[in-house]
Symmetry: C2
Subunit: 410 residues, 2 copies
Amino acid sequence: MGKGNMKKVLVFGSTGSIGKNSLDVIRQSQGKFNVVGLCVNRDIKNLQRQIKEFSPAYVCVVDQRCADKLEKNLDNKIRLFKGEKGLQKFSTIKTDISVMGISGISCLRPLLINLQYSKRIALANKETIVVAGLFVFKLAKKFGTEIIPVDSEINALFQLFNNIKRDFSKVYITASGGALIDYKKQDLKKIGIKEVLSHPNWRMGRRITVDCATLVNKAFEVIEVHRFFGVPYKEIGVTVHRESVFHALVEFKDSTVFSCCYPPDMKIPIAYALHYPRRAPSVRGGSFDKKFSLSFEPVNYNRYPLFKMVLDAAGKDDNSLIILNACDETVVDYFLAGKIKFTDIYKVMNYIFSNYPSKRLRRIEDIFYWDQWARTKTKEYLLNSGFRVKGQGSRKKNIFTKNQKSGIKL
Amino acid sequence: MGKGNMKKVLVFGSTGSIGKNSLDVIRQSQGKFNVVGLCVNRDIKNLQRQIKEFSPAYVCVVDQRCADKLEKNLDNKIRLFKGEKGLQKFSTIKTDISVMGISGISCLRPLLINLQYSKRIALANKETIVVAGLFVFKLAKKFGTEIIPVDSEINALFQLFNNIKRDFSKVYITASGGALIDYKKQDLKKIGIKEVLSHPNWRMGRRITVDCATLVNKAFEVIEVHRFFGVPYKEIGVTVHRESVFHALVEFKDSTVFSCCYPPDMKIPIAYALHYPRRAPSVRGGSFDKKFSLSFEPVNYNRYPLFKMVLDAAGKDDNSLIILNACDETVVDYFLAGKIKFTDIYKVMNYIFSNYPSKRLRRIEDIFYWDQWARTKTKEYLLNSGFRVKGQGSRKKNIFTKNQKSGIKL
């Protein structure tokens, strides 16, 4: 089959977990997809391998130094986009499908641009929906762009809603409980990075794995369910399901429950998003020919105070979730750099969440403003409030002046 | 609401397990259904209570003596149908919905007649589909009659297929494994009636509970799946799921599985069949707010030789399943009467299945012929082949003459 019949694909974050899995799916779907563009932050070593295999016409490296380094060895038939500005240009490439595998809020700008140039977004990023869902869906509607969620729980629900009539009374997403589910609460302060990153079922990026352990990730997914499908919060439940085989369930008012399951392998929802509305053939299958057990139990909310905090934020101000997400991204980076303790994540987020000015959002740029604001405040707080931040002294001080708390202009 | 707006319902087998559950559902759905007719075999004591509560216009008692007994005390505004002939007349009552709760092959004649007079059959009986599925569906199509399966596994699959696109690669129904799943094979010959009737999850009729323990019931359901939905046998799997919460699963070719579950309570599928296409409100719900575990494991076919035998029969001659069903009904009656051992069920069925003449079916009456033939042969074999049949001597003798084995005319 000629490349003309193949679907053009851009992969944002091609050397990350989602990116690699996407390229695996594309490799296994020979003749169906043509990788026209690859975009990474820094990992030019793996990018070079991917370029060799997939021969994209466009490549983007966001980190300027890495971009310059790559440029020297790059075939001059390939167009290279460099830095943040380059990422924005890369996002204007017309394509059939874009895989959005960039993690965190960094995905928002390329997504908002690319929504206007791509026919379909395979969206793995959840922060964009959590902090800017309204903008994202409005833009997608305006440009007729399909958004297919790749995140397993949201993907499973998308699959269910794509089939069933919507006369349900409750929707459940499952939570593995994360790496720390069997630790006692009092032992959490001693937990190291390695323990937190030992997710029982999924191999994912580092930040999302930490967010699984705090259940911030699950609270984000509840918000995604609300934003994607318009399900009221009181009709969204979470059940702890350690085996991560079932991803979403829909309960009808007669007690019947429909559910969607697949083995915990991101290639399955990625293949779904790429092949939709068809289904990709799998070598696996026969899941229920084997012997296995599954468990379901309610979430112990007392054990996961950040779950409640994030959902409280969802029902609060326009900027609450932006603040919490930026704070979470920052503080998790500090934890992953070995600079603070696991339990400090909650402490810092709780402080920031108790001390931010409530503001309405009028335009997309406001999101970036509050994101930056919260990152700065989080770092200041970390430096000034007695947390053990490697290589720096610490002292306690209230970093919020009265003026800042109430008077920042948009 | 006046009775004019209510759906008219006939309940066949109203004092049996399905019948009672149906009347419970109707009682809970006040103002929706009007019970116009009740039909029982013998249990006039419970029937009288039901008449008092539901004031049906028509009543049918199949057992002649019981019918005569009831007649003496019956309000003369109620029309009574008596005996087998009466049942056939009762089956011609025009109605919106008929609940077919008669067990065994006895359901076939009323079903075939009633299909022409009812708009919808809520079908709990499986023997009719197993032995006469082709006739039943042909007739239903001709008269535009809906058949909604009530049997939980088939009902769950009906619900799934009623929603999903049919691009599946495999269908699974679940099996509780029956009351004897944890007994060793060598201990089965000592098993008594009480043990066999102690089904872990479902309260059902006595024969079906025995059929659960032998897995004959599950083999019948596999045949039902084939007949109801046209799924090829090689695409139908069975998974032992002791908790009976999940009833059916559909696996797509990308390894995604959709499933349908509800608590093991027959009122749920009955309510589904009565309220369809709406869903009945339930007081329950929130199933996944609780803590529980589920298990799935492959069927140990070696442990359930009758499962294989019934499925072998499905792929064999036109009359194979009629023979096996009639033999099963007869021999289970003997077991339930304490006349033979549990393990004799297999022995007798194996003998009959190895010694019947293969014949084509040309008309519906052929079904009744072979049903009767197999019952007679089974009883003869039981009497003459050394089984302990209470109150009668036994001697071994080949009951099939060469002529009978090959030459019975239809």
